[in-house]
């Protein structure tokens, strides 16, 4: 995307006032989306996002500038801006030799979405939409969308690396609303993959649509969830949002490198129940959170975060690496060129254990079964988190009983980790968008079914 000669000139210019690291990032992304509501295609959009960012470090300080020009003059102007802000020193005789590094593509589009006629894409969306709409008479409204993008990124840095990556993404989202006239409930599914249109062709579109509506209809008849402390069984796939929020964010260098995480200085210590082993793995081919090349020009890794309850690793980007005195784990990510990269998750999940699903429910006696989780958030300083239960049921006498709505789970990450006392053998990943300081990025959460021996459930006071 950029001539080597230009990249060299930009990096040298950026470092000309004393910076000890420089990086050029150029991106050209085309995104397309089509969405339906009220039985009609109501919106279709195409957007191209092209631009560049230049970043330098002076020790652990960072300066970043971005713009939408990617020609030589624009890139040099960005370099001048960061150089002006970085300092007033004069750097003499920087040796810079750039060489191409090949990043084996982990995520490929076998069928480029752009090669599929827009009408055919809309037809696929309609299959999911109408399956959701026709699921039940109580389905009042369905929204469905099919979004895809191809992100081409180029990176050159003063460590001598030139790398590039082409990242295809595709995701179906169906959101159903069930209504009985006085009350509404909603359900959602959003399967996605770092792949091309073959993902949609291989997906049971109607089953996806029906699932969104099934959740909404189930919750419509549900009573309110009782409040208080109780054991909670959380199902697999998007249930992993618990770990993502309660633990994942606090293991990012963004929090750890500045001493703002409850997990600082805890490497080698027990931070979780011994049933818990967890990883962040950006190397799984085609997965929603996978990357061939990080946004800092490094290979992604499989990072073991927790091994049998012992903290074994953090997710570290280049700046975090400097702050922590530990090697980068290839965890630098950003939404797009308008953000400087920082440490982020990829596919982050609790690994499969040995318990059986039926045994977990039976052993629980009385509590809450969270079949599907909604979103959540966390304060990394205090470890406090909260998230909503999209589809929940009471467990009574070791059996799953009536559905309940309005439940939220709140607690502190380090407490919950200790309280995960059963882990089943059925790991499944679930797709989400994670928002943090470097923007919104695709990440997978995941886990097998787990049990938390006690957690505060927000709901109705009896």
């Amino acid at each position: 995307m950029v001539e080597k000669r230009v990249s060299e000139a930009v990096l040298l210019r950026a470092m000309s006032t004393g910076a000890d690291y420089a990086e050029l990032y150029v991106e050209d992304t085309t995104a397309e989306g089509v969405s339906m509501i009220a039985d009609c295609v109501d919106s279709a959009n195409t957007s191209r996002s092209k631009g560049a960012g230049v970043r330098v470090f002076c020790g652990t300080n960072s300066v970043y500038a971005y713009g939408n020009g990617t020609d030589e003059a624009s890139l040099l102007a960005l370099a001048d801006k960061v150089a002006a802000a970085a300092g007033t020193a004069r750097s003499a005789g920087i040796d810079l030799v750039l060489s191409d590094v090949r990043f084996e593509p982990l995520c490929r589009a076998e069928t480029a979405v752009s090669s599929v006629p827009k009408k055919e894409r809309a037809e696929a969306l309609k299959q999911a939409y109408f399956a959701a709409k026709n699921y039940s008479d109580s389905i009042a409204q369905v929204r469905a969308s099919l979004n895809s993008s191809v992100k081409r990124v180029y990176l050159a840095n003063s460590e001598g690396v030139i790398g590039s990556d082409e990242r295809p993404y595709i995701r179906l989202a169906v959101s159903s609303v069930a209504s009985d006239g006085s009350e509404n409930q909603s359900g959602f599914v959003g399967p996605g993959r770092a792949a091309g249109f073959e993902f949609i062709r291989g997906l049971d579109l109607e089953a996806a649509g029906r699932e969104a509506s099934r959740i909404a209809v189930t919750m419509l008849g549900a009573g309110k969830c009782p409040a208080g402390k109780m054991p909670v069984v959380m199902d697999n796939a998007f249930g992993g949002v618990v770990f993502h929020e309660a633990c994942g964010h606090a293991l990012e260098a963004t929090a750890v490198g500045l001493g703002n995480s409850v997990f600082c200085g805890k490497l080698g210590q027990k931070i979780a129940n011994e049933k818990v082993t967890a990883v962040d793995d950006g190397t799984i081919p085609g997965e929603w959170g996978s990357l061939s090349m990080s946004d800092e020009g490094e290979r992604t890794q499989r990072i073991t975060l927790i091994k049998d309850g012992i903290l074994t690793g953090y997710m570290i980007d280049k700046l975090g690496s400097r702050r922590m005195g530990m090697p980068s784990t290839g965890s630098g990510r950003r939404q797009d060129y308008t953000y400087a990269p920082t440490s982020r998750m990829t596919n982050t999940f609790i690994c499969a254990g040995n318990d059986k699903r039926d045994d977990i429910i039976a052993a629980t006696g009385n509590g809450l079964y969270a079949a599907k989780m909604g979103g959540g958030s966390v304060n990394p300083v205090t470890g406090e988190f909260n998230f909503s239960v999209m589809e929940g049921y009471m467990i009574r006498n070791g059996k799953i009983c009536e559905p309940v709505r309005g439940a939220t789970l709140i607690g502190k990450g380090y407490e919950v980790l200790m309280n995960i006392d059963m882990v089943s053998d059925d790991l499944v990943l679930g797709q989400g968008m994670c928002g943090s300081v470097s923007g919104s990025i695709p990440t997978n959460v995941g886990q097998p079914m787990i049990r938390i021996s006690e957690i505060t459930v927000g709901g109705e006071i009896e």
Binding site: N45, A65, N68
Partner: protein, 451 residues
Amino acid sequence: MSGLGRFCDALLAYAKEHCDGEYEIYATNGESFRVEILNGQIKNYSVNDYAGVSFRVKKNGKMGYASTTSVEEDGIPALVSAAEENAALIETPDEQFIFEGAKSYPSPKVYGEELDSITAEEKINFAKELEKKALQADPKIIKVEGSTVVSAKSTVMIKNCHGMDLCENSDFIAAYVVPIASDGERMNDGFGVCGGFDRACLDADKAVKKGVVEAIDFLGAGSVKSANMRVIFRNSAFCDLIETFSGIFSSDNAQRGLSMLAGKEGEKIAADCVTLTDDATVDFGFGSRAFDSEGVPGRRTVVVDHGVLKTLLYNLKTAHKAGVQSTGNASKGGYSAPVGISVNNFTLTPGEKSLEQLCEKMGDGIMITEVSGLHAGANPMTGDFSLMAKGYLVEGGKRGRAVSGVTVSGNFYELLKDIEEPGADTYHNMFGEAISSPSVLMRSPLSVAGE
């Protein structure tokens, strides 16, 4: 600036030649600045230019969109044909409009000239001052996680086939500080912010005080026993709740069956003491603008008058469908997004009592100062919310100990009907939607889950 202007002119000329439908360009560009200080040093510094152009075309009554950040003119044919292809996919019978323009437009002040004279060095020094003052404020403050100044300047342009040619410049500066308190065992963070359109708005002492109090008060704050309790939502917490549920006032949501206010215009939907207005025309409001995202003039709209829903918020499409006028609430969530609806400056009219007087009136209960997890624990469609909250117990009319780690649950539609009294202490939300609200005292108890 000139690059974008040239691109728009070239795009307009190309569309005139090649489009057989109506068309419109919505373009934005600007500069942004951000500096974050840590330990007296610049931790992050960012200075940027951005631009974005959205082109939409109405063909056979259907609207298609395409957008780009690249102002290279060789991309124009692809941009136009993508919008036309997208228009051909649209099936919705709702008619969309390319506006012909109005005779006159309001001119709210949204550009603080004084900000142009604040240098990067001054901004850096202000961020340093925030950090220093926060560290000196109390021995319990062990560090400051971030001390940040952001500023931005932006231009919005709309040009279309009917000759509409609108342009508005705005700017903004804000600073925030995140002090962290420790008692040797636990840590807790606070958040203080200041900002606006002139030098005077950069009030370090005010921002530091709020952040430091928050960090210290909630250090080791305990929970409460689960109970139904009377509640005061402090002003900024109620702003956050209104923001989460502001979509219920959107006519688009109502027409799609996604708001329970559908068909309720003219009906009582809130307590007598509730008056909500939306006003795009106030000088230096965070949501002020001369024209909305369709080029319709900004105006003042009384949405709820003493409890009665006077009108929902409309854009051209939904107004046409309902047989009314647009209220000037067309908005885009970014230049590339299709036109939707949002509030401009949305304000709950204040009452007369101070926060202390509201506490006295309540007697016993909880004052909620912060709710979090709004995107997870609040359902904008049903109005149900169940949110992690912080605050203070109120006992015998006086503020008591700090409380955290509780969940407050309720329903926003019910909340509107159940407000006993709004206070006098209006807070203006600075990030996100421009919501203004005083503290409010609720009549009936809400469910507060703790231990």
